[in-house]
Symmetry: C2
């Protein structure tokens, strides 16, 4: 039986997370944002928090803010608030720096911590900045790792060998949304004495991640996608407690010192993951992230993941039902356990279609050469939103509107 | 003839920068903030910029912000706006990351670029995080530099030799405010084929810095002190153009790639200083910094430095005139060219005095064991503010109020 709008409305009526939609500020027009894989929605509490931050903290306290506010506590506080979304223990997630800097710190630390082997194993589906970080290590480090960039998942699986020091992957592919089986990769890596470094940017806040249960070694992720930390917001890192004392952090800074305000001349690393915190925290960015963290703390991750799965299933079913005969092919695996946070699909005119969708108030994202992505933020998207978005897509494809000259200049 | 309040008011009446005071938001009570060396004042434009950022950019654009706003241009745009404060050319200053991460990137890059020698020469008056970064390099790097931390300026000057690879200094001492002669150090360093790395955190926006004219090699600095970037705001780095193509940056990330949105698999560094930009810029922090950058762009640096010098001279004269007989001794050198952004002075009860000053609405800062600092932000402090602050200090010392039990718990 075909899915219709009424069915979607019924799903919304039964949604245990529906109350969270009001915790995010809606856009003025009825734009449907399906770009949570790129930029998450804004918590409604942010403008007030910023106004109060400006007046009560920056203007009235100035340097006393370090003493009288939570500025210094945020990196760990926010880390603790999002830890349950990735199966991490309290105190093991630190919010700091951007994803690239964290990848660099953690990959270098993992390289220094390696047990055997001389190769970092990855795939070309890893996000470019992840690859650049590894290439930089190969290029700059006096005792450099080899970097093996596999062209396919099969090649990667066949490349595990005694020369493998680190397996370095994005949990979910930023283009196709295809997802690795983290437990299996960790298990295979450990069997050959290799360590694993995961980029969770396209996973945390959308799909189940269980770093502890799946026995990962290290992880890093982006704050501003599913986690709604805000544009350019702080990223995070996680260190398995068994590696917390492996050595000094890659970047030794005062926020990773065991006694920050002693202003000691000699560096002594803080115990645990906190040693990777480098310099002054990104206070304002963290105030914004803390608004999202407040929400995440209240979210039952099992409900979150179930809703995300249901949104993804619905998106795929509707894309096929409504647009399957109009040239749309789904790229993301059907199998739930192989899916990341977004649904990817292709169309021969994906670029112009993406532009026509923007004009129709549906914000997905385009990736060359011919794929589109709908990123699904479970806390603020309704099932009816998915119905509406796919309906607008169908109209564009049916009418051929996307072939209009004005949609041929495509933004990335 | 003794200086009085009327004299200070006359100086204010002649101040060519007096119009800038209104560009910063004043505190509600008449608190005098003398902590620009720790946290600069808030540009009055910030709250509106943030409100518009939240609604018009984050909520309404989401991921399209990358295409339709200046988010990606800010790191270079802000760098260009503050370049004249440090004698830097356009395009050579990049706003990114925090100071510690930038110190790490630049010191490591300098180490890879060294011409000869195996030692990083520094002094224990360098800020702790600067020292930790160097110690981390010594501890972690497979081809590590030796770190020589000199206990005095004389020892440092005597330690220049053929083994010196890098001279690594804070331009102005964070405690005493004593300043290095940058031209002289650069000259001596180059004479022995060493490179220089300067931390300008306590200089830029207060005292003359001329990286190009003084022939420095590298520099890094903090955004949230004199530059008013806001708590935890982005830091900056500068690379002398002759070193811009020395090699790959320490942290290779997508924002330092020559074609960011090509999503290429292979890293190719951007030309120039921009290659050091690592990952996603700290968008929200940069929006705030851009409010300050707008102001800095309008400021004639010669007026700025002249005002800062006059404020510093007045502070020292008044401290002596009003408090010299009450136990206050000035630590900062009298000679203008040896002074950084703040005036340091000591008193046997500096900690409790600092607390009593806070209660009286004067925010300086205390450093163990017995020194106080007044950081002077030339754009928003009047000469009369200095008079008023020193008057309040005199009252506290004369009355012995600072000996009250409630001031004995001292914050740092």
């Amino acid at each position: 039986m075909a899915i219709d709008r009424t069915h979607c409305q019924q799903l919304d009526a039964q949604d245990p997370l529906s109350g969270f939609k009001a915790r995010f500020q809606p856009p003025q027009k009825h734009t449907i944002f399906l770009d949570a894989n790129s930029m998450g929605a804004m918590p409604a509490a942010v403008p007030d928090r910023l106004a109060s931050f400006c007046t009560d903290e920056w203007v009235e306290l100035r340097r006393q803010g370090w003493n009288h506010t939570e500025w210094l506590d945020r990196p760990r506080q926010i880390g603790d608030a999002i830890a349950h979304l990735m199966g991490a223990g309290q105190g093991n997630v630190v919010v700091c720096d951007n994803t690239t800097v964290n990848l660099y710190k953690i990959l270098t630390y993992a390289w220094q911590s390696r047990k055997s082997g001389s190769t970092i194993l990855t795939e070309d589906g890893n996000f470019p900045t992840d690859l650049y970080v590894a290439q930089g290590l190969n290029h700059n480090h006096p005792d450099p790792p080899e970097i093996k960039v596999c062209a396919s998942r099969d090649e990667l699986m066949d490349s595990f060998n005694t020369d493998t020091a680190i397996v370095y992957l994005s949990h979910a592919d930023y283009r196709s949304g295809e997802c690795w089986n983290m437990a299996d990769i960790n298990h295979r890596a450990h069997a050959i004495d290799a360590l694993t470094v995961w980029d969770l940017s396209h996973s945390t806040g959308a799909i189940p991640v269980d770093l502890t249960g799946d026995d990962a070694d290290f992880a890093v992720g982006c704050g501003y996608k599913y986690l709604s930390a805000g544009p350019g917001g702080s990223a995070y890192l996680w260190v398995n407690p068994r590696h917390a004392e492996n050595g000094w952090p890659t970047i030794c800074g005062w926020m990773g010192h065991q006694d920050v305000f002693a202003f000691a001349t000699e560096y002594e690393p803080l115990s645990g993951a906190g040693r990777h915190a480098t310099g002054t925290p990104a206070v304002i960015a963290n105030e914004i992230f803390s608004c999202a963290a407040q929400i995440w703390q209240e979210v039952d991750e099992k409900h979150l993941w179930a809703k995300h799965k249901a949104l993804g299933d619905l998106t795929m079913e509707l894309l096929e039902q409504e647009c399957g005969s109009l040239g749309v092919t789904i790229n993301t695996p059907r199998e739930y356990k192989q899916r990341g946070g977004h649904i990817g699909f292709s169309h021969p005119g994906a670029g112009p279609v993406s532009e026509a969708l923007l004009a129709a108030g549906v914000v997905g994202s385009f990736r060359r050469p011919n794929s589109l992505r709908f990123g699904l933020g479970p806390l603020y998207l309704s099932y009816e939103d998915i119905w509406e978005a796919v309906s607008r897509l169908r109209k564009i494809l049916e009418s051929g509107d996307w072939q209009d000259a004005k949609y041929q200049t495509v933004s990335v």
